[in-house]
Structures are given as structure tokens and as C-alpha cells.
Amino acid sequence: MSPDHNPTPGPCTPMKIIISGGFGVGKTTMVGAVSEIEPLSTEERLTQASGGLDPLTGIEGKTTTTVALDFGRRTLHRQRIELYLFGTPGQPRFWFLWEDLVTDACGAVILIDTRRLADSFEPIGFFEHRAIPFIIAINDFADDPHRYSPDEVAHALHLPAHVPVVRCDARERHSTARVLAALITHTLTHQHQHTPSPSPSPDGVPT
């Protein structure tokens, strides 16, 4: 039976988890590791006045940027849950493009490559600021000469003590599922009285 067809017809409750982190850190790989479909991508374009005149045309310059959000889904038939994993670009300033991207998310995994730790600062700050539960997952690249321990990473990132840091291989389904389970455990422990945000209005939406 095609996995794309729901073999147990009946409603599922959709839930979502955000996978964030810097460029090339393995976000799409992680989404694909648990998705039952090839990861899909949806693109948004935005333009920015680049301030100043284009030297060739004399016209005020504009820059167009395409920002992609990829995602996969996994149906948990027994639980009647359809889990969505959204792999976000590493810059939270773009996330307003998908208005409700983080609204009611179960939490976020911030994937890191210990060679480029600073790439994770912005997403960490974002989730911390919003009180959205998150964990850090060190994607173990075989060619990484430095093998930092989770403690060392937690220290360098100035993480609050309760934020878990785990290792994973984002290519591997079991490993990724363990990361996601660690996140949900964390959410259940630390999001005691989660009240859905009253306003669906996202930050950053131009008024």
C-alpha cells in the first residue's frame, strides 16, 4: 500500500515540530529521516530595498531573496497523529513569511555542527525569548575533528541548565526519533501550563 494513502481512514490530529539550525547542518536530512514522504519545500520570495542606486541602471536597487521552508510528515496511526517536521532556515527574521510557523509548535530541535556553533545563536535566542521548548542536537559529522561533549556545548552556548543537549546522526531514523522523543519529554516536563498564544499575529508581520 502506498504510504501516501492513509490506511486507517479517520481523522488525525496534526502536530508540529520545528527543526532549526545553521546552513548545511542537516535540517533537511533530519526531516527526511522520519518523513513518510520525500521532504517537500515551499518557497516565499521577499524583496528588500537595498538602499542606494544601482550603479548600472541608476534605479534604486531591490534585492529579491527566496526563502525555503522544507517539511515532511509522519503519520502515527496508532496515536492518530500526523506529525509535521518543519526545517526552517537558520535566520528567524525570515520566519514571519509563514505566519503561524511556530504557533503551537510542540517544540524545536536546534541542530548544531560544533564547528559552526555561532550559527545556532539566533534560533536559540528566538526560542528562548518566546518560551518555546527546545533542545540542542549535535549532528555528528564523521569528519569533525573536534568532538565536543554535550557539556562543553551547553557551556559555550550559555544554555539554561534544563535544556537538554543530545547527539545524533540526522541521517538515521531511529536516532532522529530519539531526538524528537527527547524534545517532547522536555516539553512535557517544562511547559507546565502552556496556554496557546492568544494572538495568532506573528512577530514581524509588517503592518
Binding site: H5, N6, P11, C12, T13, P14, M15, T42, E44, R45, L46, A49, L69, R73, R74, L76, R78, Q79, I81, E82, L83, P92, R93, W95, F96, W98, D100, D104, C106, T114, R115, L117, A118, F121, E122, P123, I124, G125, F126, E128, H146, Y148, E152, H155, A156, L157, H158, P160, H174, S175, A177, R178, L180, A181, I184, L188, H194, P196, G204, P206
Partner: protein, 190 residues
């Protein structure tokens, strides 16, 4: 040379994150806060469906990225009736495929007067299984905001429905616990 570095420094050799910086910036300060950034002119007018649907940018239904949508009654002709399924209506003619296939097409056709072929595509996708808005947008190759408006119109027209919540009506905590159970089963190497 005095540039030897220990094989494993005590901490990664990057500037540490300053947690007092509201957005986790480095020093020198990170870019301005995301929600303050100058990326403001979303070029909706350049996106074909927005032009096609009269420049509207706000849907009438609160549809989120993971809102699931189903085709309405794919197995019967209810939608035909809704949209005047009398002989000779546009969707009931020669183009009709399998029985029961026409409801959404009629709805979509009436809805956007044939100007947005993606509408038919959307109904077809949602007939196969419930699809999230995100998946619909990705599969028809349109930005989410554009797909949202098509979906919203299809909801108005009765071609799509949002499946009702599960009867057992689990609360947030129960859902998270169920999700955890499912993920733990998936992480068992068996």
C-alpha cells in the same frame, strides 16, 4: 610558531553566545531583531494567484500550515447539487472522469471561474487523503499565502472541509504524551 592549538580545546573556539542579548547575538551585536528587520515588502502583487483572485491577501478562514483539509464527500454527488448539478452545468459535461469526480471541479470552477487551475488540483489532492495547507502549497508550487486563499475559497464553496476534531477530544498534554509514545516506538531499533 606559537599558534599551536590543543587538540581538544576546553570549549569550542567560537565566541560564546551572550544570553543577555535578547536574540542570542554575538559581539559585535547581531543584526537587528528579526521582527524589526527591513524585510517588509512582501511582493504579493507579483504572485499570480493574488492577481487572479482580485488582489486579496487575507483568507476568510483561519487556516494554519498544519490545518488538514479534505475534499467534501468525495464518494457522492453532494457537491454537484450544491453547485447546481443540473444537466449541462459546466463541470457535468464531457470532461467528467470517474463517477464522483466532478464535485470539486464544479466547485472550483464556479469558485474562481476557471481562472485558477490550481483549485482543481487542490481538490484532487485532498480527495486522496487529508492534506495540510503546507503540503498543498508545496505540491501545487505556490507560496503558502496564495494557497491559503485558494483553500479558503474552496472551503467557502464547500469543496473542501476541515475534518472535525477527534471524538475523544484529547487535550494538549494527552496529545504530547501520545506523540511521545509514537516517537519512542519509532526510536526502538527492532
Amino acid at each position: 610558531m606559537a599558534t599551536d592549538t590543543p587538540a581538544t580545546p576546553a570549549t569550542p573556539d567560537v565566541p560564546g553566545r551572550d544570553p543577555r542579548h535578547p536574540f542570542g547575538g554575538t559581539t559585535p551585536p547581531a543584526p537587528r531583531p528579526p521582527w524589526d528587520a527591513p524585510w517588509a515588502s512582501y511582493p504579493v502583487e507579483q504572485v499570480r494567484p493574488f492577481a487572479l483572485i482580485g488582489g486579496r491577501t487575507r483568507p476568510r478562514h483561519p487556516i494554519q500550515l498544519i490545518t488538514l483539509l479534505s475534499a467534501n464527500n468525495p464518494a457522492d454527488q453532494a457537491a454537484d447539487d450544491t453547485f447546481g448539478g443540473a444537466p449541462g452545468n459546466a463541470g457535468g459535461g464531457a470532461g467528467r472522469g470517474a463517477a464522483g469526480d466532478a464535485g470539486g471541479e464544479v466547485a472550483a470552477g464556479v469558485l474562481v471561474q476557471g481562472r485558477v487551475p490550481e483549485a482543481d488540483l487542490v481538490v484532487g489532492l485532498c480527495r486522496e487523503r487529508p492534506r495540510s495547507l503546507a503540503e498543498i502549497a508545496a505540491r501545487i508550487g505556490l507560496p503558502v499565502q496564495a494557497a491559503k486563499i485558494i483553500v479558503s475559497d474552496l472551503l467557502d464553496a464547500g469543496a473542501l472541509v476541515v475534518p472535525p476534531p477527534l471524538p475523544e477530544d484529547r487535550d494538549r498534554r494527552q496529545l504530547l504524551e501520545a506523540l511521545l509514545t509514537g516517537l519512542e516506538a519509532m526510536s526502538d531499533v527492532a
